[in-house]
Subunit: 476 residues, 2 copies
């Protein structure tokens, strides 16, 4: 961030993103290339994400557990597609305790292999199914091009892993967890998302099918915000995850996995923030209201402080509140809390005491109004609710305004040569067309839409028969 403050989005979007992170004091790079230090303001957002998702997972019967960080290299190799996908980006431990290891160990790039090894021990009979497990963990994937929160060598995530007796039940779970993610993204992060299925080339390495939710950032690029997979039958076979069924036969279980990561924080920043810094939806904001006493001399200071503390103590019972009693000048304080994205600022000065009012200011719109002390708590609750909705609506309008249903290749190319956006277009399903489209436009298939009129159409590129509409976009 330069001395002048936060770079404007219109000037340099990438720099703006980094400036917002710095201004809100969310994170910084670590000493090892591509690693990230998540600072208290950033980590508090992650803790809220954890708390809300934990509750939602639990409602579906999932329990938390913890599996080892270090995976024998041979485990990774048991499933052919999986090793092909992950081998290039693993970090490898070759020595420990002062000795060279007989078998190298990889730091988990994802935990299917080590968790299924446990599942194979836990599961004996159909009575043991389903197994519904989640873990919150750190993950290492050696990335070449990194960006705070969006792509780092180490990140934090949750990974759910389940085992089921039938393919149908596994499919239900896969869809259920994507729905959990969609609801969470929309209701809490205020980020509208599009749900769909990944094309073969974008599938998780070792999955039979991958679902994702895709969000639009303010530069009109897509961010994959969560995925859920049903694994290849191979996986259960490679790790011997089988059960004795009611009919007395041994059968392989069906496995799913699903995850979201600290990347969501990157999405949150890019979806809502503005040129003044971070904007956080109230439901996810670590601090929802900040109370700021405003005074110009020592005589004013005392009664204003008393009133401010009363308000803080009162609001603290219902909301995540903070009070700023520092000696910084008022304007600097406003700016400081603004760039940190606190949804509501309460200002209280000498005049407000006389009139039994306070000023309430919204972070998202900048709107300020004077309200009666007696209705403060209700007004804060109402405003937070309104903001949550308004922030979502704004993001949704932006996305909808930049989403195009396209039938002709000319228009398709023009959009991606220009300002970009989300493009819904028919696709014949061939990997060749998919690849060519990406070569020509840098847009990729984000997902094949779940919700689409199943009308026939012609592939946007080759004109061949197409039964599906896909979402195309440039992506993070």
């Amino acid at each position: 961030m330069s001395e002048k403050g936060i770079t404007k989005r219109s000037e340099d979007y990438s720099q703006w993103y980094l400036d917002v992170i710095e201004a809100a004091d969310l994170a910084d790079y670590g000493p090892v290339k591509g690693t990230m230090v998540i600072k208290p303001n950033g980590y508090a957002i992650w803790e809220n994400i954890q708390q809300i998702l934990n509750e939602k997972f639990k409602e579906t019967g999932v329990k938390n557990a913890y599996f080892p960080l270090l995976i024998p290299e041979s485990f990774l190799k048991r499933e052919a597609e999986h090793v092909e996908g992950f081998a290039p980006e693993v970090a490898v431990v070759t020595q420990a305790g002062g000795k060279k290891l007989e078998e190298p160990l990889v730091i988990r790039p994802t935990s299917e292999t080590i968790i299924y090894d446990s599942f194979s021990k836990w599961i004996k009979s159909y009575r043991d199914l389903p197994v519904l497990i989640n873990q919150w963990a750190n993950i290492v994937r050696w990335e070449m091009r990194t960006r705070l929160f969006l792509r780092t060598s180490e990140f934090l995530w949750q990974e759910g892993h389940t085992a089921h007796a039938t393919h149908e039940e596994a499919q239900e779970r896969q869809k259920m967890m994507l729905d959990v993610y969609k609801e969470f993204a929309e209701d809490y992060l205020a980020i509208p998302v599009i749900a769909g299925e990944k094309s073969e080339s974008e599938r998780f390495a070792g999955a039979e099918r991958t679902y994702s939710i895709e969000a639009m950032m303010q530069d009109k690029k897509a961010l994959q915000a969560g995925t859920s997979h049903i694994l290849n039958k191979d996986f259960a076979e490679s790790f011997n995850v089988k059960y004795l069924d009611q009919d007395g036969k041994e059968k392989f279980a069906w496995l799913t996995s699903w995850g979201v990561s600290t990347r969501l924080i990157g999405g949150l920043i890019m979806a809502h923030s503005d040129d003044s810094g971070l904007v956080l939806p109230p439901k996810i904001a670590p601090i929802q209201v900040v109370v700021i006493p405003v005074w110009s001399n020592e005589t004013e200071k005392k009664p204003v402080f008393i009133r401010a503390k009363e308000i803080f103590s009162d609001l603290g019972k219902k909301f995540r509140a903070e009070i700023d009693l520092s000696d910084t000048r008022t304007g600097a304080k406003f700016y400081d809390w603004e760039k940190k994205g606190v949804p509501i600022r309460i200002e209280v000065g000498p005049r407000d005491i006389q009139t039994s009012t306070v000023i309430i200011a919204r972070r998202d719109t900048g709107e300020k109004k004077s309200i009666k002390m007696s209705s403060l708590s209700d007004e804060v609750a109402k405003t937070l609710g309104t903001m949550q909705k308004d922030i979502f609506d704004k993001a949704k309008k932006f996305r909808d305004d930049n989403t195009f249903e396209v039938d002709g290749w000319g228009e398709f190319e023009r959009i991606f040569a220009g300002e970009g956006g989300f493009v819904m277009a028919n696709w014949c399903g061939s990997m060749e067309c998919e690849k060519k489209i990406t070569e020509k436009t840098k847009a990729t298939i984000r997902c094949i839409l779940f919700d689409q009129p199943m009308k026939q159409g012609k592939c946007i590129l080759c004109g061949g028969e197409s039964k599906q509409k896909a979402l195309f976009a440039k992506a993070y």
Copy 2:
């Protein structure tokens, strides 16, 4: 665990410990030697520990953050004592992303070095102090002899790290956090602990001073249950953690660190469990009450289920409750919940419905009584409170009965040649005597007591002048 169930403590204490873990389904070894899979029942205990400690840390102004897993090897080497202490047990990443790394990276065996590197960037002036940070993280230390929860190659912990302007303030923080641990161990885990200072030979590698809390297990050995350190001045200098003071001079900050780990779960098991399995103090138990319908035929089953569900729904509002509606026979159910350590079992059968009563059974004492439905919730609350206290009192009595104040070497040796225990004895302070005592008895100095009559005495071994009493014990 053999077919016969849990080994008796009196027969084989180590096997009993492992059997309890298996019977309660808490954890298992992972595929890599010394690593641990923490199963849902075990992880739920850890989540409770996290929740309670998070609250206590927060009350003292500490905020959570997250720092990278991978530390440049050179960082570890910057502080001489620190590298000497940790180098022998680190796991080293030498390749990543398919390439050999220019500088090897160690997986954090503790995070002082990487966190102080951040502190050096965060701290400019006295206004930035104190910095009060905690992280919940996984740690890798390559251990030769491992035991579930007590000593594993990877474990989970929290590590607090703080920076202060003065030595005095850092000392206060060091003591404050040890007090937090002591309170937590005694009030929640129901484990009485003795607080004191480590001798030089047992100090944290790089600490000026280390405090610890020490608990007695049922085999009369000591378990170190938490530590807090004030770091060597060297540390701040090596990592350049300095600030501009009010007097305009640059000064080095004073640093503290403090931690507890999943080892606490091992302590919890060994402090309270019995030959029937796990015993958990109510405040830390993931499930506090289990409701079990008891019926002998289908006619009885329906009304009993209805009543059991009512009770479960009612208790679930105030307590962490569970209901067992499975088709397992009643005796097996009782045994199953008993070995899992659930503090209270509620039994409800056809007769109980007629008399508007239920049976309430305590896990710790086995005591059963019939109580009126109308007073159930109050009775459960009261019983949980009583159990929490009784479990602590029992552990304390056991410890006190096995703690000896000793003046003569003959008695000292006799105790450790026999059944062992905690021995308080004068020690002259020389490392030579400390070493010899350990060679002769296998007992080590657990800590030099904070709370002791400061009377002069003679060293238990050499008879030299001694101003301090130390706690000696065999230890985990």
